[in-house]
Symmetry: C2
Subunit: 487 residues, 2 copies
């Protein structure tokens, strides 16, 4: 019967959409039979030997159920808490204004101060280029300058109590980016210096051949290109204020002497990106105020008394709004904001992210979600280490270590809780990467993709809850927690 059934079902599968026409045709044939038979041997579609595998309708089903669940949670939240969104509070938070600090703006002062190490870096490079400063002294000055740069916010935020959380986060982010950019600037200029020393005569020819290469695909604007050729910057002509500030504003962490440029600003494109940034920031703040803060506050007691069922429920409740906020943040930061910057600055390389959503393991995700940092890590840490003779595992671990440091830096310094949850979370990626790769090998790419999504969706709220718990403990002491748990 099974062979027969498979045969029957194959015919059926093809004709599902034409079912009625066929039924009408068959009806005519049947008319010659007295009992008009309508049955034939065939399998059900869910049976293995039916060979049927078209379940695409269930993809729409999943997205619809997700939306319905989402709308219900919105309504439930509204019924429980009312509207908690408060734009006036945003204004306080975004400007760093706080009742405690009054008219003091320590975040703004630190942001303005950041020009000092930049100028110092440029002056040192000038000195090195003109050989006023010896190479070893110059490099020593750079290292000290960068170390002071990264340690300054830690010290100031630790000493001053007048920082808002958002203000402190903005400062640590700014200083982290500046650190990576200046590292790149110093390293590229040192490469150029070495190249100049090694084969001064070759330099001019190679730059020209490079500009010819770049002309290739873009024949229409060859006139502009040829004028650009004349303008092409060569070391040490690049060492001036305008160039370094262009690099500091440009959406990249990797310095080079001649960035690829666009020839016009697309007004519509720019307008869309501005709207996205403005609305997107509001959306994230809404999700934060309305959904995340109540859930995080409610998670305090279950987490402190280690009630696993309630903690898990809170964790899963936090996971969805947190994940949506993260997705919004990703889009606004890596698509809207960096494209906006690029458009204004005529910066042509808009490859800020890969297709990390299709990643089949943790490694692929880390390589694709933040391409500016990934590109920086390869160009300025991984390959230099390989060139210095270290093996690949050591170099990869160093990249992860630096990445983990900056994650911890950008979280712990503003929160003033020097725990290692973020650092630990990042370092946990190394064993997790092995696990996810072996899962991918054993169960296929779909399972690998699911493991990657799970670690993203569940890992983040876990870290957030741990930080919040520690933040409260540090700020108000264990006494408050005990008091709470009696309620």
């Amino acid at each position: 019967m099974s062979e027969n059934g498979v045969e029957g079902i194959r015919r059926r599968t093809k004709s599902v959409t034409r079912a009625e026409e066929i039924q009408a045709e068959e009806k005519k044939a049947r008319k010659s039979q007295p009992d008009k038979p309508c049955h034939q041997p065939r399998d059900s579609l869910f049976s293995w030997n039916s060979g049927f595998d078209n379940f695409t309708g269930f993809i729409n089903w999943a997205f619809l159920l997700l939306s319905i669940g989402g709308v219900r949670l919105l309504l439930e939240n509204f019924l429980k808490y009312g509207i908690r969104i408060d734009p006036i509070q945003w204004l306080y938070i975004l400007t760093g204004y706080d009742d405690q600090s009054g008219s003091e703006h320590p975040a703004l002062i630190l942001a303005i101060y950041s020009n000092v190490p930049v100028i110092l870096c440029l002056l040192t490079e000038k000195g090195l280029a003109t050989e006023i400063i010896p190479n070893k002294t110059g490099m020593f000055v750079h290292v000290i300058n960068l170390l002071v740069l990264i340690l300054l916010p830690m010290a100031v935020i630790h000493v001053k109590d007048t920082f808002s959380l958002i203000g402190a986060s903005a400062v640590t982010t700014l200083y982290s980016v500046l650190f990576l950019k200046l590292w790149s600037y110093v390293q590229v200029n040192s490469w150029c210096r070495i190249a100049r020393q090694n084969h001064k005569s070759n330099l001019r020819r190679q730059s020209l051949s490079y500009s010819n290469l770049r002309k290739g695909p873009n024949n229409s604007s060859s006139k502009e290109e040829s004028t650009e050729d004349l303008k092409l910057a060569h070391y040490p002509d690049n060492l001036h204020v305008k160039d370094i500030y262009y690099f500091l504003l440009a959406p990249t962490l990797c310095y080079e002497l001649n960035f690829p440029k666009t020839d016009r600003i697309r007004k519509r494109f720019l307008f869309k990106r501005i709207v996205e940034v403005v609305l997107g920031v509001q959306l994230i703040l809404c999700i934060l105020q309305q959904y995340m803060i109540p859930t995080i506050k409610n998670s305090l007691i279950p987490f402190s008394v280690l009630d696993y069922t309630k903690s898990t429920e809170r964790l899963l409740k936090l996971a969805i709004p947190n994940h949506l906020a993260w997705l919004c943040m990703f889009y606004i930061m890596f698509h809207s904001w960096l494209n906006l910057l690029g458009e204004v600055l005529h910066f042509a390389d808009r490859s800020f992210y890969g297709d990390w959503w299709n990643a089949n393991n943790i490694d692929t995700f880390w390589r694709n979600w933040n391409l500016p940092v990934h590109r920086w890590a390869l160009r300025h840490l991984y390959f230099p280490m390989i060139d210095m003779g270290y093996n690949k595992v050591v170099a990869s671990t160093a990249v992860f270590f630096i990445s983990a440091f900056f994650h911890e830096y950008m979280v712990s310094v503003p929160l003033k809780t020097y725990k290692i949850w973020a650092f630990g979370g990042m370092m946990a990626q190394i064993p997790l990467s092995f696990v996810s790769k072996s899962i991918e090998k054993a169960y296929g790419s779909r399972f690998g993709n699911l493991v990657f999504w799970s670690s993203i969706i569940l890992g983040q709220p876990l870290c957030i809850m741990m930080y919040y718990h520690d933040y409260i403990v540090v700020k108000y002491g264990e006494s408050l927690l005990e008091e709470y748990s009696h309620l």
Copy 2:
């Protein structure tokens, strides 16, 4: 820049997985440049002119978020209500035993009584075949018999108060199925009788040619087929007790004299179906007790006082467990149970459902989700009406009308609330079908599929809430509702 960018991004898109190898290759080429340039003009993946469209990872993302949301709701429900599942209550419900009715089993008595109209039907057919009963009298007896059959449960359930809800539902379902089966039995036998009268000499030849046709694909069992040929039933030899009871038990509503048969019972297959039926019924009862009943009870006040926000929240809360229960019910009824019956009875036609989950409009769903009823409606109502000279619209409406009647019958009779929510819901399918078809034409098949899923997922809980509201009002009166709303 845009042409350049598209070019760049196309190259990038193809090489996302090989990113590291290419980076390594490019690195070698770059080594000749002093500043190791790493930027090139290209667009972001989310930009329209990047041409990138691989977002398959988000399918896994949707299913994962759905599971996480589901697990959280399970936990929340457990924390709020504890375990409400009570297997002893199931036993009462399934056996129809109730404290009120004591040892009375009216459902069981009605089930046993259903043999009477069956035997009456068979005897009438025997009389018609042997021409003891004239044709008009016989048809009159059949119509009366079928009308009594379908009205009996209505009367008994209305008069007797000792029915459990499940018992009454089982009885109406049984009597509905019996009505459709006997209609088919009577109609097929009447076709055979007409054929015998019109061309008695042709009958034998046609049956033989039919059996030759059926032999076609199944060459291996030609020996059995030829012996089966000898056994082939011809009118009026089919009119005996064993044949009619085989038809009544078989998983089809369409009678024919020689059903296609399997040659063996697959033990593994049968075992799996039995396990599915046993576990699946438990699962549905769990969903009912743990998730649906509390939500339905909580919906009473918002629905009666027309609080739209709360009612919507309740509706959406009910939608998900109701839909999951419906999916389970579909699978258990149409796959597990009917395949189990088919396997035991050697019934070879297992086409009980089409791929309704891929339906792009309401019509396709109704044609595919319940093939036994669909086949019955075409064979015994639609085509006979067409043959009688009615046009297609009238015949289609008649099919929908009968279908709506049986939906109402199977819901209203057990609940004893003769409202038209189910009937109205079914009749609303006719305008909805036009709407969904025009949406499919205007916005494509994906939108059509979403409209179909929405109507399934949201329409059912709406009807359930309306019935529950009316059931409470009829049973306890408006006073209770008013009392409730003061709480």
